[in-house]
């Protein structure tokens, strides 16, 4: 076989490899695997702690999945708080309150860049005291999920950096917040 023929064979091989990667390779990777209804349910109810970020990322990229997910979340909610029609101010930390829960924010007196989020559940379920409280937030940046520790005296709290996206979503008055059952 002459050198040129080797070159041809190599070119064909390389092209075939690229084509394989393009056509089949991405199917196999977990990143691209389809989201099943089962995954939506499991994530909505906080059952897949390991891979929920990955699935949420995919949900946020598809309008259809996002709708399906929000329908499910509302169906399994303890309370749904829609977007608030109020002007927000950067100076005061505005919480929100419904008949069933209250959300308030307070700045750490020592480390000013950190903020405490206090969630009060007025009529808690046994799961809230046992496993903690799961909150889904639908904001302009997409859907995010925050897990609070189990309730003590109907209250639970978490500490966030001010720059944390989850905190910003919780503080965003235009976001709708769903506290899960």
């Amino acid at each position: 076989m002459s050198p040129v023929n080797h070159k041809q064979a190599e070119a064909i091989f390389v092209a075939k490899r690229h084509y394989d990667v393009l056509s089949a390779g991405h199917e196999a990777s977990e990143e691209q695997a389809a989201v099943m209804f089962n995954d939506l349910m499991q994530v909505a109810c906080g059952r897949l702690p390991g891979s929920h970020r990955n699935i949420l990322h995919k949900i946020n990229q598809s309008l259809d999945l996002r709708r399906q997910y929000m329908t499910l979340v509302k169906q399994f909610s303890y309370e749904y708080s829609p977007a608030q029609a109020a002007a927000s101010s950067l100076e005061t930390l505005v919480g929100r309150e419904t008949d069933k829960f209250a959300l308030s924010f307070s700045r750490d007196p020592v480390v000013h860049s950190q903020i405490y989020v206090v969630l009060t559940i007025h009529f808690p379920n046994p799961t809230h005291s046992r496993d903690g409280v799961l909150v889904n937030v639908d904001s302009k940046n997409g859907i995010s999920q925050i897990q609070f520790p189990p309730l003590i005296d109907n209250k639970t709290q978490s500490l966030f950096e001010e720059s944390d996206l989850a905190l910003q979503a919780l503080m965003d008055l235009d976001a709708s917040i769903v506290v899960m059952n």
């Binding site: 076989m1 040129v4 023929n5 041809q8 064979a9 070119a11 064909i12 092209a15 075939k16 084509y19 199917e27 695997a33 389809a34 099943m36 209804f37 089962n38 995954d39 349910m41 499991q42 109810c45 059952r47 897949l48 702690p49 390991g50 891979s51 399906q68 499910l72 169906q75 399994f76 379920n125 799961t127 059952n181």
Partner: protein, 552 residues
């Protein structure tokens, strides 16, 4: 064993089953541990039910299960028993199923009890039983249905909550329809699958490999299929159906083989007929200055071998009318079986000649016994030679129409017409060719290009002759679309017709070549006489004496 299992299954459907196999779940019982939701065997069984379209009873079972779930499955946490059962507990296992229905339920609507691993459901007066070993398949089906249409789960919930056994039946039908509508786009039709299966079964029974099938086998298949009295078999009364079925099955088998070969990277390139490319031949390609370009083209072609759309003879009967309706109809089987023009030339010939006669006979049978008798007595005379003549006429018509199309397109697309004409003329020497290429490159507007064609014709007599030929053909053509020269805005129809005519011409030429080759090997007359007696005997059996006697 020869089998067409897997043919025509869409990628979407395959990826759905893959998705089901990989579905994971973490339940409260498993304490956060994540595991596979379904057993592979259950999904395999579900895939079998779905792909064999045998999901009627399964849907029925699922509806009864859902009826039992919304009543007998306790869900204190969310009060959504259906969702909790299918997606938040480990119900895909028999153990999970037994745990879910551990407590019996009873009311005036009916009752649900679990005895020795079997769930007994009484909906009104209708009893139903589901074994715990079905849990996985049913949960898989639910997941599948929701992936197909996620609104179904709300619909199921709503219907079974209110309903008795009548509602369960209606719901089962709705689910079946939902699956049916989905599968229409992702699986071959059930009828088609049945036909493939019949042919592959026949091949297996006779111990024949698909590569060895020849014209006589097709004839034998038709006769044996007609003798087969099984009730559920697809009908093969018409010879045309038998030919279609065998050739379509062979095509399906070929596609399957290629699919498997490309998935598992088997060696390819040995079968020229399938457009495969032999690497050793490529290596020996001439190494000229354009070698790199050729290689790029070749690699592109080999990878993305785009199969052109087959021509549609019917389009050519519209304006501009290039073929008569009967000619277009005649071409239909040839176009349909293009890959087999050479290999099954005789079968196609039989189909065209005796298929037509069979059509006449079956028409006559509807009329009267006497009519059948009369038609039976007049087999297609001089059949094969006359058919060949017909194809020749058709080829001539196509060539004629092509000339007329070119003439009609000349004012609007001179460059294209020139290109088409040059291919048919004696080759120019290289200097001329280069000069011509430069001139054509310089001419941008159709007017400039036309002027160029005219000046070229004056210095190049063969082109002049060709243009005259176009003009005289056009003048002689009185068909729809060729009476007056078309305007620029209807040009597209002519261009499309031109490409259809070119494609069809290629196929007809190929067919003619095969017919000639067939004529060289055997005497057409002898073959025809033998075939007449075979077909007459069979047609007599199908339409003839017995029927005539019983009718009269």
């Amino acid at each position: 064993m020869v089998s067409t299992v897997g043919y025509g299954v869409s990628e979407t459907l395959l990826s759905m089953f893959d998705g089901l196999r990989q579905t994971t779940i973490s339940t409260s019982e498993s304490q956060g541990e994540i595991k596979r939701k379904f057993l592979c065997a259950d999904i395999d069984r579900l895939a079998q039910y779905i792909c064999c379209r045998n999901y009627g009873f399964l849907c029925h079972e699922l509806c009864f299960l859902c009826w039992a779930i919304v009543r007998a499955f306790p869900d204190k946490e969310y009060n959504e028993p259906l969702f909790t059962y299918f997606w938040l507990t480990d119900v895909a296992s028999a153990g999970g199923f037994r745990r879910a229905f551990a407590n019996p339920w009873q009311s005036d609507q009916g009752e649900v009890t679990l005895q020795e691993g079997v769930l007994h459901i009484q909906v009104g007066q209708t009893p139903f039983a589901i074994s715990s070993s079905r849990a996985g398949v049913l949960a898989g089906l639910m997941e599948f249905i929701v992936s197909v249409d996620n609104t179904q789960v709300q619909h199921i919930d709503h219907t079974v909550s209110k309903g008795g056994s009548g509602d369960t039946d209606t719901l089962s039908k709705t689910l079946q329809k939902c699956l049916y509508d989905f599968l229409k786009h992702h699986l071959p039709e059930a009828n088609e699958q049945k036909r493939y299966r019949y042919v592959t079964d026949w091949l297996n029974r006779n111990g024949q490999a698909p590569e060895d099938i020849n014209d006589d086998d097709i004839l034998l298949f038709w006769q044996q299929a007609n003798d087969d009295t099984a009730l559920s078999k697809p009908s093969h009364v018409r010879f045309e159906t038998a030919v279609d079925d065998v050739l379509n099955t062979l095509q399906a088998l070929t596609l399957l083989r290629i699919q498997k070969a490309s998935q598992r990277a088997f060696s390819q390139g040995l079968d020229d007929d399938l457009g495969e490319v032999d690497l050793s031949r490529v290596m020996a390609a001439p190494e000229d200055s354009e070698g790199e370009d050729n290689l790029a083209d070749f690699v592109h072609g080999a990878l993305f071998n785009d199969t052109p759309e087959p021509p549609q003879p019917n389009l050519l009967t519209l304006t501009p009318k290039c073929l008569t309706k009967s000619q277009a109809k005649r071409m239909q089987p040839i176009v349909k079986h293009t890959p087999y023009l050479r290999r099954f030339c005789l079968s196609l010939l039989r189909l065209q000649v005796f298929g037509q006669w069979q059509g006449v006979l079956s028409q006559a049978k509807r009329k009267s016994a006497a009519s059948v008798k009369e038609k039976m007595a007049s087999p297609p005379d001089n059949g094969y030679d006359r058919y060949q003549q017909e194809v020749l006429t058709c080829a001539e018509t196509l060539a004629f129409s092509r000339q007329c199309l070119l003439y009609a397109l000349l004012p609007h697309e001179p460059k294209r017409v020139l290109g088409e004409l040059i291919d048919t003329l004696p080759p120019l020497d290289e200097n001329h060719m280069q000069r011509l290429a430069l001139q054509v490159k310089g001419a941008n507007s159709p007017q400039q290009q036309q002027a160029l064609v005219e000046s070229l014709a004056q210095t190049w007599p063969p082109l002049q002759d060709a243009l005259h030929q176009l003009a005289s053909s056009y003048k002689a053509n009185n068909k729809e679309g060729f009476k007056t020269l078309p305007d620029a805005y209807v040009c597209d129809a002519y261009l499309e017709a031109l490409s259809e005519v070119s494609k069809l011409q290629g196929i007809v030429q190929h067919h003619l070549k095969a017919l000639n080759a067939l004529g060289e090997n055997t005497s057409q007359d002898g073959k025809f006489v033998a075939d007449v007696s075979i077909f007459t005997a069979r047609f007599n059996q199908l339409y003839g004496e017995i029927h005539v006697a019983s009718e009269s």
